[in-house]
Subunit: 131 residues, 2 copies
DNA sequence: TTACTTGCAAATCTTTTGCCGGTGT
DNA sequence: ACACCGGCAAAAGATTTGCAAGTAA
């Protein structure tokens, strides 16, 4: 990190600690508030700036969860599926969506990677429920 | 429409005319500005209120096009694919995404309808291009 | 006349930006 | 010391809400 001319400041470290501690992707606001019993973190604007910096470094990435704010997590190349009814954001195992990707490629020639924009659909439970 | 206790006001009519005139889904702001040589329409807040009303009636629906504002169109049950690189929102033919839907159902048991949240991927051209 | 509607202003919510003083290296 | 950074305040963009006046029915 230092080799890119960037500094390992305390605010930066707190953002990273929050992301390491989080089990699911979290909002910038939650990071600023200190996720999981963490000390009340730094300013929200700084959190956004640091998330952007870390994202440029490839350490962090964010997901757009339908309505609601963006969610941030350590970059692990994970793909997500979001239930448009109950709102659950589900990280899927690697390659689980390969058949979907393949079907889309065959149908329209598009290449999908559900890391930034999740696949939005209705989970099994919600599909079974009433509308 | 009247049978639901709603009125066919001029502002309401202008919103509908704008949607009929539009070839692609449009923003609330574009509707308020008068799409396609239409008279400068009504207030933006009223446009949003009317879009919501019409959506509850099942006449209108909206799509979330990645970043950027929501897009509105007459409800025709259309499904969309959005290119995350060039930003083009593409309405796909009916049933074109059936194989994708099927693959997703088989893989995770989710039921997808890409009408409200489009399938976000990279179109052929953009996938071929550099990153 | 009555209740739904509009226009305008102001509030919300998320994210970004400007500025200046603070701080890693 | 020098450039990067953090905090605070304010801006920006999309959408919602409050309210008094307007208008379909």
């Amino acid at each position: 990190m230092r080799r890119r001319g960037l500094r390992l400041s305390s605010a930066r470290r707190l953002v990273l600690e929050a992301l390491f501690a989080a089990e699911h992707p979290v909002t910038a606001d939650e990071i600023a508030g200190g996720v999981g019993g963490r000390v009340p973190c730094s300013d929200l604007a700084s959190v956004y700036r640091n998330l952007e910096t870390l994202e440029r470094l490839g350490v962090v990435h964010h997901v757009h969860a339908g309505h609601g704010p963006g969610l941030y997590a350590l970059a692990r190349g994970r793909e997500y599926v979001l239930c448009e009814r109950c709102g659950e954001l589900h990280a899927v195992p690697p390659h689980a969506l390969d058949p979907v990707r393949e079907a889309l490629r065959a149908a329209l020639g598009y290449e999908a990677r559900f890391t930034h924009f999740p696949l939005v659909a209705r989970c099994g439970d919600c599909a079974a429920s009433a509308d």
